[in-house]
């Protein structure tokens, strides 16, 4: 492997986000995976947990102690661990890209309200740059600490941004989120037993989902989020009900979206009058880094139904993480992220 590759570590590499990071980084031409941690599987080949990686690498998990000296560390542990190790990782490595919810909210009080417990490292909350390229690419170019938003947050922000930016919204936005079972990670319990989770339409968060706080913080809109677990392993979709301040026509709204995302490598505007896939659907995005976004407006132009879809483990976490890395390093944004998605699937 080339000596000049970036030396990257994945903390929490045995999880679902961590595994996706390994897959992407193994296929990335500019990086070398220098460490992949797991407490449970330390010493074992990464293919033990991630069967898709068998035969592609000799990489083994190591235990998460003494993680210093890397060019970049991706932090893919669950919340409490991420809070615990964040400061140390930030100090001992060149760059930290966190995928957990640990450093997304800026206000400790909001954190406590939504997470039901006080943040134990509140001093760090202000120091992370939001890993949302569509919003603050410039800041990411030089960021040392990056916090990638939640998967449903990314989708919602992409769906709502054109309206938020131009102050076009009048009142509460209701956001209906649907998500596959990988959204709860590999550590789940009876909750995610196949026989129970299969065919689910589980309204697990009728209101007050944690991602609501993130969207409100980032968009300034009054967003009400409902989240439902659906029959799928990967994939997230948001359906946003947007009341408009003044009537807009289909053409005007399309123009708003086009203008917002014309230069975005991973956002496609999908709003068709014909065909089987008229509005964004996650299934054709599985494995890809696209967030598809589309809309439909009522005849009176007063309400928009905006829809966005993505793969929660790609554009919803690991993919955006690698996109942030590419931005930070000045590399082409699509490097290692070019997979188109499949059809049929």
């Amino acid at each position: 492997m080339a000596a000049d590759r970036l030396r990257v570590a994945v903390f929490g590499a045995s999880g679902y986000v961590g595994g996706e990071l390994l897959r992407l980084l193994l296929g990335h031409p500019q990086v070398e995976i220098a460490a992949a941690t797991s407490t449970r599987y330390a010493g074992r080949p990464v293919g033990t947990v991630h069967p898709n990686l068998r035969g592609l690498t000799g990489l083994r998990f190591r235990s998460p102690e003494e993680m210093g000296g890397f060019d970049v560390v991706f932090l893919a542990a669950e919340l409490q661990t991420a809070i615990k190790v964040g400061a140390d990782l930030a100090k001992r490595n060149e760059c930290l890209i966190d995928l957990s919810p640990a450093y997304r909210l800026r206000d400790p009080a909001v954190f406590e309200r939504y997470y039901g417990t006080a943040h134990t490292a509140p001093e760090l909350l202000g120091s992370f740059v939001s890993g949302h390229p569509e919003d603050n690419r410039a800041a990411l170019r030089t960021a040392r600490l990056v916090s990638v938003p939640g998967c449903m947050v990314i989708a919602t922000l992409i769906a709502l941004r054109p309206f938020a930016a131009d102050d076009l919204v009048d009142g509460d936005v209701i956001v209906d989120c649907r998500i596959g079972s990988s959204g709860s990670g590999a550590a789940a319990e009876r909750l995610n037993l196949h026989a129970e989770r299969s065919g689910a339409l589980r309204v697990f968060a009728p209101h007050g989902h944690r991602h609501e706080a993130e969207v409100c913080q980032a968009s300034g809109l009054a967003v009400r989020m409902t989240a439902t677990g659906v029959e799928a392993v990967r994939g997230a979709q948001v359906v946003c009900h947007v009341p408009l301040r003044r009537p807009l026509s289909e053409v005007e709204i399309r123009r708003l979206y086009r203008d917002a995302y014309a230069d975005e490598p991973f956002v496609r505007v999908i709003a068709q009058r014909r065909g089987l896939y008229r509005l964004p659907e996650p299934k054709i995005l599985i494995g890809s880094n696209f967030c598809d976004v589309g809309f439909s407006v009522t005849p009176d132009g007063r309400r928009v139904v905006a829809v966005a879809a993505l793969d929660n483990l790609m554009k919803g976490s690991a993919g955006t993480g690698v996109q942030c890395l590419n931005i930070r390093m000045g590399w082409p944004e699509r490097l290692g992220l070019a997979f188109a998605g499949l059809h049929p699937i």
């Binding site: 289909e250 053409v251 399309r254 123009r255 505007v269 709003a271 068709q272 009058r273 014909r274 065909g275 089987l276 008229r278």
Partner: protein, 61 residues
């Protein structure tokens, strides 16, 4: 792909760019790559498009 003999016309439904081949004839139906409307070529010089009559494709349940 070669781009010879292609002109761009605005979609009357969504204002997207629709590429029209120079070989295209009057009354031919083309599809807008953005909103996927079916568009009828109603004039050739200048190239003019109109929304084709909508056969309501069933998409419900």
């Amino acid at each position: 792909m070669s781009d010879v003999g292609v002109s761009e016309v605005r979609c009357p439904a969504c204002e997207g760019d629709v590429e029209i081949d120079s070989s295209t004839r009057q009354f031919e139906i083309v599809e807008c790559p953005d909103c996927r409307s079916e568009l009828e070529v109603i004039g050739l010089s200048p190239m003019t498009l109109a929304l084709a009559p909508e056969v309501d494709e069933d998409w419900g349940e």
